[in-house]
C-alpha cells in the first residue's frame, strides 16, 4: 500500500495543455489516517498553478546544481502542514568539505603511486631517507585534510549548547 502511494506521489504531477494557456496541476495526496505506526494517506488535495508558479516551486525543490531534493508533492505537503514557507537545502559547505577532502585523497594516491613505481623501476638507486621526507610531507597534507573534516563552528555551537 505504501509503495503504491509513493508511486502515485511521484506520478501525481500532471501538466496539461488547456485552451486558456498552459496550466500545470499538481495533485497531492495528503492523508492522515493512522494505522498502527503507519500513516495512511487517503485524502487528495489538488490545486492549479501557472507555469511560472510551477517553475518557481520546482526551483525550490532543487539545489543550486539542479538536483532534485524532494518531490513537488512532498514539498507542497510539508509547506502546507508546517504552516510556513519551507526552504529545502543541502548543506553546500558540507559537500564542499567532503569534495575537497576526496580530491586531495585522490591526488595523494597519485603521488604515492608514482613513488611506488619509481621504487620498482629504479631499484636501489634512490635514497630511502629522501623518500621518507616526501612521505612526511604527504602525511602532513593528509593530516590537514582531516582537519578540514572536523565539525565546523556552526555545528559546534549546536553540539556544545546541547
Amino acid at each position: 500500500m505504501l509503495e503504491n502511494l509513493e508511486v502515485k506521489n511521484k506520478c501525481g504531477i500532471v501538466t496539461e495543455e488547456g485552451s486558456t494557456g498552459c496550466l500545470t496541476r499538481a495533485t497531492i495526496h495528503v492523508n492522515a489516517k493512522e494505522t498502527g505506526n503507519n500513516i495512511r494517506k487517503t485524502r487528495v488535495v489538488s490545486f492549479r498553478v501557472t507555469n511560472e508558479q510551477y517553475e518557481g516551486i520546482q526551483t525550490m525543490c532543487t539545489d543550486g546544481f539542479g538536483e532534485k531534493l524532494v518531490t513537488i508533492a512532498e514539498y507542497a505537503r510539508h509547506s502546507t502542514l508546517a504552516q510556513r514557507v519551507t526552504k529545502i537545502s543541502e548543506n553546500p559547505l558540507d559537500r564542499y568539505r567532503v569534495a575537497v577532502a576526496g580530491e586531495m585523497a585522490t591526488g595523494i594516491t597519485s603521488i604515492v603511486q608514482m613513488m611506488d613505481e619509481l621504487i620498482d623501476i629504479t631499484s636501489e638507486k634512490f635514497s630511502i631517507v629522501d623518500l621518507m621526507e616526501v612521505v612526511k610531507h604527504l602525511e602532513a597534507i593528509q593530516n590537514k585534510t582531516e582537519l578540514l573534516l572536523r565539525p565546523i563552528s556552526a555545528e559546534l555551537s549546536k553540539e556544545a549548547i546541547q
Binding site: G64, G102, E103, M132, V135
Partner: protein
C-alpha cells in the same frame, strides 16, 4: 583468473574493514588479516558516507563494494599489480567520471590466518589475498548519484579476459575447450569493452545545469551573518566554548573509532620504505636467522599461530646445502625470514621478533632489534 564481485549497501563497510565484523565471525580483523591501504583515504570516505546518509536519505544504497581476488597461484603478485588492477576496475565501472569526482577507498587484505573452515563442507581452505574497493555513490562535483556501468555478462567476461591478459594471468574461461571456440581474444575483449563504454556514454543523459561545486555559492550566505547582530563578547565566548567542545568531541570520536592512525595509501608507502631500510640494516641478523632457526619449528609455530597447512610444505635442501621450505603447490621456496615476511605478511621487525622467540638459544640481545623510529625512520 580475476574474480570481481560487486554489492551495494547503505552502511557498515567501514566497520567491516576495520573490525572484520560479519555474520558468524567473532574474530577481530587484526587477528586474521594484514591490511594494506592501496587507494584513497578511509577517513575521507567515511565522511563522504556520513554526508550521504545525512543529506541523501532517499538513496537506497550509499556505496558500491567491489572485491577483486586472484587464485592461489598468483598470491605473491606484487602490490603494484594489485593497485594497477584496482585502478583499471575503477576506470572500467566509472568511466563516465574523472577520478577526482569519485570518493573511493581500497585496501588489500593479506591473510594472516592462513586457513578457514568452509561453513558448508567443513573443509579447511586456504585463504587468499584480495582487494576491497569501496566507491561512494556521491558525485563529489555535482552532488548527484554516480552511474556505474550496467552489468552485462559478455562485457564482464570480456573485461575479465582483458584484465588477465594485461597482467599475464591465465583466463579460466579458456580452460574450457568448448568455450574457447566462441570466446573473444584479448584484443577483441578490449574492443567489446570500449564499445560498451561508448554505448553507455551515448545513452547517459548529460547532466544539465550541473557544475563543479562553486565555493561562491556558499561562502557568502546571509544566514551566516546572523551572529553579527549579537553582542560580540557573548558571541566570542560562545564560539570559544563550542570550539573547545567540538575539538573534544572530535578527539573522542577519533579515539573511539580509529585512534590516531588514519588508513591511506601513504601509510602503505611508509611501511614499504621502513621495511626496505630494515632489510638493509638487519642483513647480517637475517642471514644468521635463516641459517640457524629450525625450519620445522617455524612450520609448527606458523601452524599453531596462523593456521598454516603444514602438509603442503616440505623442508628441502637448496644450493650449498641450505635448507628451505618448499610450497608443493607452487614450487616457491622460503627461508625462515621469507616465511615470516613474504608468506605470513609480517613487517621486517615483526618477522625478526617472531623468529627470535622461536630460537631463544641463539642468545640475541633484547635491544638488538629496535623499532624503525629509533633508527630515525618514523616521524
Amino acid at each position: 583468473m580475476t574474480v570481481i564481485r560487486i554489492s551495494q549497501n547503505k552502511s557498515g563497510v567501514e566497520d567491516y574493514l576495520e573490525n572484520g565484523k560479519k555474520t558468524g565471525r567473532t574474530q577481530h580483523r587484526g587477528q586474521f588479516d594484514v591490511r594494506v591501504p592501496l587507494l584513497g583515504n578511509l577517513q575521507a570516505f567515511k565522511e563522504t558516507n556520513s554526508y550521504v546518509q545525512k543529506h541523501k536519505k532517499k538513496w537506497k544504497d550509499c556505496y558500491w563494494h567491489i572485491t577483486i581476488s586472484l587464485p592461489w597461484e598468483y598470491h605473491k603478485v606484487p602490490q603494484g599489480i594489485l593497485r594497477e588492477m584496482t585502478h583499471e576496475v575503477l576506470e572500467f565501472y566509472f568511466h563516465l567520471y574523472k577520478k577526482e569526482q569519485i570518493s573511493a577507498y581500497a585496501e588489500i587484505h593479506y591473510p594472516k590466518q592462513q586457513t578457514s573452515v568452509d561453513s558448508k563442507t567443513g573443509e579447511r581452505k586456504q585463504r587468499l589475498p584480495h582487494v576491497h574497493l569501496i566507491v561512494n555513490k556521491l558525485n563529489l562535483w555535482t552532488g548527484n548519484q554516480l552511474r556505474i556501468l550496467p552489468y552485462k555478462k559478455e562485457v564482464a567476461r570480456a573485461f575479465q579476459i582483458f584484465l588477465d591478459d594485461n597482467h599475464g594471468f591465465k583466463t579460466h574461461h579458456y580452460q574450457n575447450k568448448q568455450d574457447k571456440l566462441v570466446l573473444p581474444s584479448p584484443d577483441e575483449s578490449d574492443m567489446i569493452v570500449e564499445q560498451y563504454k561508448h554505448w553507455h556514454r551515448q545513452n547517459t543523459p548529460i547532466e544539465m545545469r550541473k557544475q563543479k561545486y562553486a565555493p561562491k555559492n556558499f561562502l557568502v550566505r546571509p544566514e551566516w551573518l546572523l551572529d553579527s547582530k549579537q553582542d560580540e563578547k557573548r558571541k566570542n565566548t560562545r564560539w570559544a566554548v563550542s570550539t573547545d567542545q567540538a575539538l573534544q568531541n572530535w578527539n573522542m570520536h577519533n579515539q573511539e573509532t580509529n585512534d590516531d592512525f588514519s588508513f591511506s595509501s601513504v601509510n602503505a608507502l611508509r611501511q614499504r620504505l621502513i621495511d626496505m631500510q630494515m632489510l638493509i640494516e638487519y642483513k647480517l641478523l637475517i642471514e644468521y636467522f635463516n641459517k640457524e632457526v629450525n625450519l620445522a619449528t617455524v612450520l609448527a609455530e606458523a601452524e599453531n599461530q596462523f593456521g598454516l597447512n603444514r602438509d603442503v610444505f616440505e623442508i628441502s635442501k637448496f644450493k650449498k646445502g641450505v635448507t628451505v621450505l618448499l610450497d608443493k603447490r607452487t614450487n616457491h621456496t622460503y627461508s625462515a625470514m621469507g616465511m615470516a615476511y613474504e608468506y605470513l605478511h609480517m613487517s621486517v621487525i615483526q618477522s625478526l621478533k617472531w623468529l627470535k622467540r622461536m630460537a631463544p638459544e641463539l642468545e640475541i640481545e633484547d635491544d638488538l632489534i629496535i623499532e624503525g623510529e629509533e633508527l630515525g625512520l618514523q616521524m
